[in-house]
């Protein structure tokens, strides 16, 4: 039986190209041929097949994204086995792999066409305002673990690179409209065409209006969305040697949000329902040059601007990235090298619960990378060694070396191993800022009540203090992988063990002498004065780089296509995180926990024009203060004719109203219950 590579999902989406071997049927598909790079190596891109890559990689192809009925990038990412994708509410997401997903720190590098979306203030990605038209995504490459180190900094837990289609492939019109029980309107329009015979373009717009969740934890849900976006991409091909692309996107969002903060002298968290208004803009231009059939170079300049405005936090973030990369092959050696520069401008208006020590308002980062791949035995044994050397304003120079080995003893079997070091540079919250958190009661300090209400009920002002003694977190990772493909099935297994040192932890700093006047008043029976004296005290939780973690686990994905019309995938992932902390300290993100995920996915072509797509996720974890849950996504797609298509989707089916993420001490936002969601979509191509 012949297996179509379109459906052998994880391993073969980028077809392995074997020189001097006849094409298989699926290689000769026009779509496949158009997806192949003519170069054996390419700057900023992975030209190897996923099968040959020495890291735990999963490629989410455009067919899957389309047939899944997803309406946003985070929703599409739910289809990647081993990726932790949890919703806080209808807008906000916590996404990571091989670690603890968090709204504000997931140690994950996210890029759109190589442009980093990392925000150094929080180490966050604003998933809720990330607008990439799903119908114009070529593929999403997900590297679990440290395999994507060369791509950028802070990629300790993984890399997500969203690769959009060349505009030459999106000429013509496209429109879709979705509605459902949660989404009132989600509509997209795109038009693309040629620019003389030297280029092509597309412009697109998007509007979204959706409802709040049905049930909140402590407040009535307010997680509505009003969003509109506009974007464009243009590609130019003046010659076979030179090509250029330009793209930009502006997204305005008004997102309802429930959150809590300390805003008055009670030092107590107060819950709010508020609207967050954000404008996210990005532009990127890239010039690629094919120096010869064996050498390429690339220059990319990217700009990102994000403004956020809500009652108590107003933030402005802007970044400029300049990346240059070059690579070539000489006999058995492939060499990649590059230089990068990043300028971040960050400003936060004075906030009642967030202030900065050092008024750092900009950060620069510059460095380079080099990687050599040597083919010891043709088509059998490859050794890859490389490093990324970066300088940043907070911790100076950081070195991230890695060594990888790929061994293909016989056809269709591949084993790989890797040892790598990575760092996570501190965020400004950790380095520079003081965050006022829910006040501490006397009982929490001395362990007993005084039975004097005015003292027992008082909350002492409490701060989470970043400071400039915080170091970069240091990760050493050992990985081992095995892959096998057969005609109708494929297996991908990877295991890892990561030791981290200098992990940020929280240390209680009470400065006991500040309480002596209050103690004296108390002992003299002057309780009112004792309570009054407490208002001059404060408790600090200092961030200290003293933690150690051991993270270990594995990912296994089995793909099987028993008949042409049915492709299936079964995955299981296990992650265990173990903190080792000195006495008197607590983890800052996550805690000792285990995460298990069982994953099943199927795509069935019922008749020529009807397909059923289904994905089942069993999430079993003690890392999110939430019950385990099982959710089913089911989508029926009907291609009515060449022009029209319709889809009916049910998401989070059978999970009931459930909480996916409840680590509220790590985030000031208040999650809601996640509900089933039904959508109906109509699509037209013209």
């Amino acid at each position: 039986m012949k297996t179509s590579q379109h459906f052998l999902w994880p391993l073969l989406f980028i077809s392995p190209f074997i020189a001097a071997a006849p094409f298989e049927d699926e290689d000769l598909d026009l779509d496949t041929l158009m997806g192949m790079d003519v170069q054996v190596t390419s700057a900023m891109k992975r030209t190897q097949s996923a099968f040959d890559t020495a890291s735990s990689i999963y490629v989410l192809g455009k067919e899957q994204i389309t047939s899944s009925g997803a309406t946003s990038v985070p929703e599409a990412l739910k289809m990647v086995p081993g990726l932790i994708v949890r919703q806080l509410d209808n807008n906000q997401w916590a996404i990571s792999s091989r670690g603890v997903a968090s709204r504000f720190s997931s140690k994950l590098l996210v890029m759109i066409d190589g442009q980093s979306l990392y925000t150094p203030k929080f180490a966050a990605v604003y998933w809720e305002t990330l607008n990439v038209p799903l119908y114009d995504i070529e593929r999403i490459e997900v590297i679990r673990g440290q395999g994507g180190l060369l791509w950028g900094s802070n990629a300790n837990n993984g890399v997500i690179n969203i690769i959009t289609k060349n505009s030459i492939d999106t000429r013509g019109g496209y429109a879709n409209a979705t509605t459902g029980n949660q989404i009132n309107t989600d509509a997209n329009l795109r038009y693309g065409g040629d620019i003389s015979n030297k280029g092509s373009y597309r412009v697109y717009g998007h509007i979204k209006n959706s409802n709040a969740s049905k049930k909140g934890i402590s407040l009535t849900p307010n997680d509505t969305t009003k969003q509109h976006s506009f974007g464009l991409r243009a590609d130019f091909t003046p010659s076979d040697e030179w090509s250029a692309l330009f793209q930009g996107d502006v997204t305005h969002s008004k997102l309802g949000q429930n959150y809590r903060g300390v805003v008055d002298e009670t030092n107590t968290n107060i819950s709010f329902s508020d609207d967050l208004k954000r404008t996210d803009s990005r532009m990127m231009t890239r010039i690629e040059n094919r120096i010869s059939t064996n050498a390429n170079q690339m220059l990319q300049v990217s700009w990102l601007k994000q403004n956020g405005d809500q009652t108590y936090i107003k933030e402005n973030f802007e970044s400029l990235d300049i990346d240059y990369q070059m690579n070539f092959i000489y006999q058995s050696l492939q060499l990649d090298w590059g230089l990068n520069y990043r300028y971040n401008a960050i400003s936060f208006a004075e906030s009642v619960f967030l202030d900065s020590d050092k008024d750092l308002d900009n950060l620069r980062q510059y460095g380079g990378l080099v990687q050599a791949q040597y083919n010891f035995v043709p088509n059998t044994l490859d050794f890859i060694i490389g490093t990324k050397l970066d300088h940043n304003d907070l911790t100076g120079w950081e070195n991230q070396p890695s060594a990888r080995l790929v061994y293909k003893p016989i056809e269709n079997h591949l084993t790989w191993g890797a040892i790598s070091r990575s760092v996570r540079t501190p965020t400004l919250i950790e380095f520079n800022d003081n965050f006022k958190v829910n006040g501490t009661k006397i009982i929490d300090i001395i362990g007993v009540k005084t039975d004097i209400p005015v003292i027992d009920d008082y909350r002492i002002a409490t701060f989470l203090n970043g400071n400039d003694k915080v170091k970069s977190e240091n990760y050493i990772s050992y990985e081992l992988g095995y892959r096998f493909t057969n005609n109708d099935w494929a297996l991908d297994f990877s295991a890892y063990h990561t030791n981290a040192t200098d992990v940020a932890a929280i240390k209680l700093n009470t400065q006991f002498e500040q309480f002596l006047p209050a103690v004296a008043f108390f002992q003299a029976g002057q309780f009112e004065q004792a309570a009054q004296s407490l208002t001059t005290t404060e408790i600090n939780f200092d961030l200290v780089s003293v933690g150690e973690t051991t993270t270990k686990g594995f990912d296994i994905v089995l793909s099987w296509q028993p008949i042409d019309s049915l492709s299936t995938e079964l995955g299981y992932s296990y992650t265990n995180i173990d903190y080792n902390l000195p006495e008197g300290t607590a983890p800052s993100i996550g805690f000792d926990s285990s995460n298990r995920q069982l994953f099943a996915k199927a795509n069935y072509t019922l008749f020529t024009d009807h397909t059923i797509f289904t994905a089942l996720r069993v999430e079993n974890s003690d890392a999110y203060e939430a019950d385990n849950y099982t959710a089913l996504d089911l989508t029926w797609n009907w291609q009515i004719n060449h022009t029209w298509a319709a889809a009916l989707s049910g998401k989070n089916l059978f999970a009931g109203s459930h909480i996916e993420y409840n680590n509220t001490r790590e985030t000031y936002t208040i999650p809601n219950y996640i509900d089933e969601c039904i959508t109906f979509t109509i699509t037209i191509k013209f």
Binding site: F17, A19, A20, A21, P22, F23, D27, L28, L30, L33, M34, G35, M36, D37, V38, Q39, V40, S42, K45, N166, I168, D169, D194, N197, S200, D235, T237, S239, D240, S243, L245, E288, R290, I291, S292, T293, N294, A295, N296, F328, I329, Y330, Q331
Partner: protein, 176 residues
Amino acid sequence: MLKFKGLLHSLTITFVLLFSTNSSAMEKEYMLKAGFLYNFARFGQWPVQLNENEYFTICSPDKSFIYAANVALKNRKIKHSPLQSLHVVLNEVSLEPCNILFITSDTITDWQKSQLTSYHNIMIVGESAEFIKSGGHIRFFLSSGKIRFEIDPLKLKDAGITMSSKVLRLARVVNR
């Protein structure tokens, strides 16, 4: 002086590394282009139908392309006819069995000199910058390292060949 020699040596090495042509890289590009020609053959309509014993023939004056095409398209058929790739010289007799003629950038000068710019029943495909203006029907170009193509359907029609809308949709259509 020694330093200068060292610098010169390293510059030469870099130059050699960057501009040396690696045969497997070239072969990959030609294998992919052969794959496209196979699709043009599948989705094109020629005025004369071949019977099962007749070969569908892809020709090129470039030996390295024919080598790559023979590897890539081994044992393939076009509508029941076996497919063959044939090295040809650019004259009318040699081109007689051809259904598709591929002119590589290394052989474009020979093609222009031959003045065989229009030939009935042969789809003429190239990869050089002004190939369509030089009389070609289809031209490959690269966009971000991937192969795309432009088609002049009128010239193709003049040669008696029509191309399916499936292929035309993917092409940049010139001289509409």
